[in-house]
Subunit: 425 residues, 2 copies
């Protein structure tokens, strides 16, 4: 361990005390200036990105990778807009969430404070540099950013703009620290800094997330997969079911909240499946199904167990006809990734039973899986989605970058009032 | 890895689904029956404890250890009472904590659900077996208990009583699984079960906690130390300050919320320190202080840096006279263990500044450090205290054994309404 990352983390931790001493108005103004700096610096950002894009193309990167890496004027504007939106959010720092007076007259409150120092470890998507920084700072944290080597120039150019805003406000640039040497050993070092880093958030492919989870001593919140299910109940409104199916599978197949498996109650299969299979086929979706499903459409490929466990991230879907609500629940419990599960039904009791039995980060009744998203659920921007049942579960916004602690006000109360009056212990 | 613990964890995880399907009333009745079973089984519990106590005495255990290990009729009654209190608490499982309707008409709620499977790793204190089980079950979790070998017979006898209650209710005894083979390799195995264990909570000496933190892949919430500070401000009420000092240092010196360092503003030192030092001496407290403190009382030993960092857990206190509120804050920020910090002052602005600058799990204004305790702060029983800024910070009650997730109700809303109407993708 060279100490390179430790030194950065120590400086970032010290910078966090300064950020934490800023008022909500100051943090808001900082983020608004960061947005302005990104727009002012867009030429340098786009030039830097062009270098990354050229290297990626020469390295044979896929179209999907190139698309994730690309910045254009619209995306830079998008970054600035996201920062302004985070700036405008309510300030969670110092918020009193609960207040209670105890029998002895002591007032007990819970108060939100920043986690402290966040480590963001991500791939591609240079916009994460700006958005993660904004979310962390809004809540009074400092952030250590370790982006992918493929976006090195882009991330550095963005960080330069963010630093300009910090300097304008007389704040330490270490509050947004970019780990520019992306060697894996530095990620390893970062993940051991239990005395400095309060939370590490990995975002990217499964390989990166597994690496972080395997090696981290610091707390990690993550999600691996979104194997999201849509269950069409016997009491479902078929039009709703079809709309949710197509929105969930085909609107953006490569995202974590896209549907991967369709479950259909046998009592509604005759009425629902033919139209559903036809609509999926029309949209270029390959259907892999059980024998019952195959009986509706000979082009349906036989589904294997691996298909029901799969996160296709593509125009492929696994289908199964189930005997009952309980069978649907049992299937989901077997294959769930704890991300998002959907039931379509007009039977309130069935909906309640489904919600009760499902433990995923988000459960939808008659609404698309595509709503499991910070912006859609009202959090504003999200720093990531958690499928870890600790601290945050589902999309993580600014508030998830804080923790509640206790603030107690008394007038001299003690636990052992007799102690003072008895002079000998 | 023998798989011994994995097998237990798999069974416990399955049992958790059954517990999670119980109503609040059923879980309440279960805990009340557990209390009854403990009382009915008190003879076997005390006999088992006698075996542990004899072995401990023969092994040369200290008085403090023997006191932590001992069960008598009063303590068994205390266990039963604690279980009844937990039983009577509000049920957090399924609680809707937030509700909001989005612009598109979708209703977004946050709902509490159990974490799942908790691993409790502890030493001595057989009552933890019963209390941890109660807290976990109340919130709908299952629990894996790994107690210390010194309390093996006691823990087994307590678990037997808890199992009787589970059987009476037709519930799987695996919901409260005792790891009876206390070999360290099994703890290691337990701490790797990332697919089964949602949270591990260690309670005991620093060596145990460090071992768990070092080796865990599963999430861990813990506290190492309670280096708690009392700062007597220039605007302090001296009577309150003395009361808080004595309550904090002498009422139970061996606990984590006991005071370890006293800081005194120089402007109040003349008025406060003589009486404070005399009262401490009267109660057998050894004072280690800076030169200014020593000038008040020649019997004061010179304090070293190590003394200001120390958690004495004894009738010893470190004292320092500081120049200002800011100096007190700086001292605390240097030596804090993030546990509990106290300010005594009648100056509201000073109190606010102190609260703002201190990031510990609990900060007290004119109230004793001894209130950083689940029962005292209104949580009911606590499963432990966290000084980890994640998920829970401060005492952890039943609610800390749950996580909020999203429940979304719609009427067929999708993110991309145009998708359905355009037949070709």
């Amino acid at each position: 361990m060279s100490g390179y990352v430790r030194n950065l983390a120590v400086a970032a931790r010290q910078a966090q005390s300064v950020i934490a001493a800023c008022s909500g108005a100051q943090r808001r103004a900082l983020l608004e200036d960061m947005a302005a700096q990104l727009l002012e610096g867009h030429v340098s950002i786009l030039s830097a990105n062009a270098l990354d894009m050229q290297a990626a193309r020469e390295g044979g990167a896929s179209n999907a990778t190139l698309d994730r890496l690309l910045l254009d004027a619209v995306r830079v504007q998008g970054m600035a807009t996201a920062l302004r939106e985070v700036a405008a959010q309510p300030d969670p720092f110092g918020q009193i969430t609960r207040s209670d007076t105890r029998p002895n007259g002591v007032q007990v409150q819970r108060q939100r404070i920043p986690l402290g120092l966040i480590a963001m470890i991500f791939e591609a998507r240079p916009n994460v540099t700006a958005e993660a920084a904004a979310l962390c700072l809004k809540a009074g944290n400092a952030v250590l950013l370790r982006g992918g080597s493929e976006a090195a120039h882009s991330n550095a150019a963005i960080a330069t703009c963010l630093h300009a805003a910090l300097r304008n406000a007389g704040l330490p640039t270490a509050a947004v620290s970019l780990i520019t040497d992306t060697a894996r050993e530095h990620v390893l070092e970062l993940l051991q800094l239990t005395d400095l880093v309060d939370l590490a958030i990995p975002r990217g492919g499964e390989s990166l997330i597994r690496f972080v989870a395997e090696h981290a001593r610091v707390p990690v919140i993550k999600h691996y997969q979104g194997v999201c299910h849509l269950y069409v109940d016997r009491a479902a409104n078929s039009d709703n079911a079809l709309a949710l199916l197509l929105d969930g599978k085909t609107s953006r197949p490569g995202v974590c909240n896209a549907l991967e498996t369709l479950l259909v109650h046998r009592d509604i299969a005759d009425a629902f499946l033919p139209a559903a299979l036809a609509a999926l086929k029309q949209r270029g979706v390959q259907v892999r199904g059980d024998a019952v499903t195959q009986a509706f459409d000979a082009s349906v490929v036989a589904a294997s167990d691996a298909d029901y466990a799969a996160e296709f991230l593509d125009l492929i879907i696994a289908v199964r006809v189930v005997d009952s609500l309980d069978a649907a629940i049992a299937h989901i419990q077997q294959y769930t990734s704890d991300h998002t599960e959907v039931i379509v039904t007009d039977d309130a009791a069935a909906a309640d039973a489904f919600v009760r039995a499902i433990r995923s980060s988000a459960v939808m009744v008659n609404a698309s899986s595509r709503f499991n998203d910070g912006g859609q659920l009202g959090l504003g921007a999200e720093i990531g989605i958690s499928t870890t049942r600790l601290h945050a579960y589902g999309p993580m916004g600014v508030e998830s970058l804080t923790i509640e602690r206790f603030v107690v006000h008394g007038s001299g109360q003690v636990r052992h009032p007799n102690l003072l009056s008895s002079p000998i212990q």
